[in-house]
Symmetry: C2
Subunit: 153 residues, 2 copies
């Protein structure tokens, strides 16, 4: 996968969480996902299709981080992952992908976004099935970890 596909997603997540939730996220070095497994408790997933490529992206959050973002964005903190949290994760997924889409379009890479789906379940993992390498971008925060994974054919 082209390296210039990576930074727009990384920058978009940092920007969205800073702007919407005043939540600073520290990116670790993006890497190829091989044996490494990103586990989390709630994830947004979205499909992308362009004239020359197609792929999928996920954003996975640990529960404490998702609940803290909820508190900061909406001023409420449910006891666990409920429909309000999955709605928020779906929105974040749309916003992060939309931000990356705009940045990539400026560089001549166009794609359309499908609608997102949100997975909830303690310690689940996601495997993107495409013909290229999966890129894993880990993020740290004071409240837990988040991961973006992307894969494009």
């Amino acid at each position: 996968m082209r390296a210039e596909f990576i930074n727009p997603f990384l920058a978009s997540l940092i920007n969205v969480l800073n702007t919407m939730a005043s939540m600073p996220m520290t990116p670790q070095k993006p890497r190829l996902k091989k044996d490494e497994i990103a586990r989390g408790d709630v994830s947004g997933l979205i499909g992308m299709i362009g004239p020359k490529t197609k792929g999928s992206m996920s954003i996975t959050f640990e529960q404490d981080l998702a609940l803290e973002i909820m508190q900061r964005m909406l001023g409420e903190r449910p006891a666990g992952i409920n429909e309000d949290v999955t709605d928020m994760v779906g929105e974040i997924t749309n916003m992060v992908t939309g931000g990356a889409k705009r940045a990539l379009a400026e560089n001549g890479y166009d794609f359309d976004m499908a609608t997102p789906a949100v997975v909830s379940g303690k310690g689940h993992t996601i495997t993107h099935k495409c013909d290229n390498a999966i890129i894993l971008m880990p993020f740290d925060s004071d409240y837990g970890k988040a991961y973006i994974e992307i894969c494009f054919d």
Copy 2:
């Protein structure tokens, strides 16, 4: 969501599992997903984009059913959900969506498919985030349950 979007997915899942794994699946009545929650252990998810619509689909399997399909399709039965199983679920997701895509194209509904992603995690749930109702299609088998969920804007 238009009712004619439902049957192509339902028929395609039954056809794919019958053909590829000699696994008969008994469909229950499709319904709107409201409070009902489809829980499973491994799911394939895919995004779809057409000129007039976009959406997402998931197929969720209970673990025992996924492992039995694995045994029947590939002659091996891992102890749990491993990469071979997620590869198979990704392939089934592609085949079921491809079958539905062909049937829908004949009726004038065109869409392109993104690449699939596979979720694994005991008892996870999936929530499709689109502007329309989510349709839930439950299936029974001798080895466990499967569910299709679809949502189109």
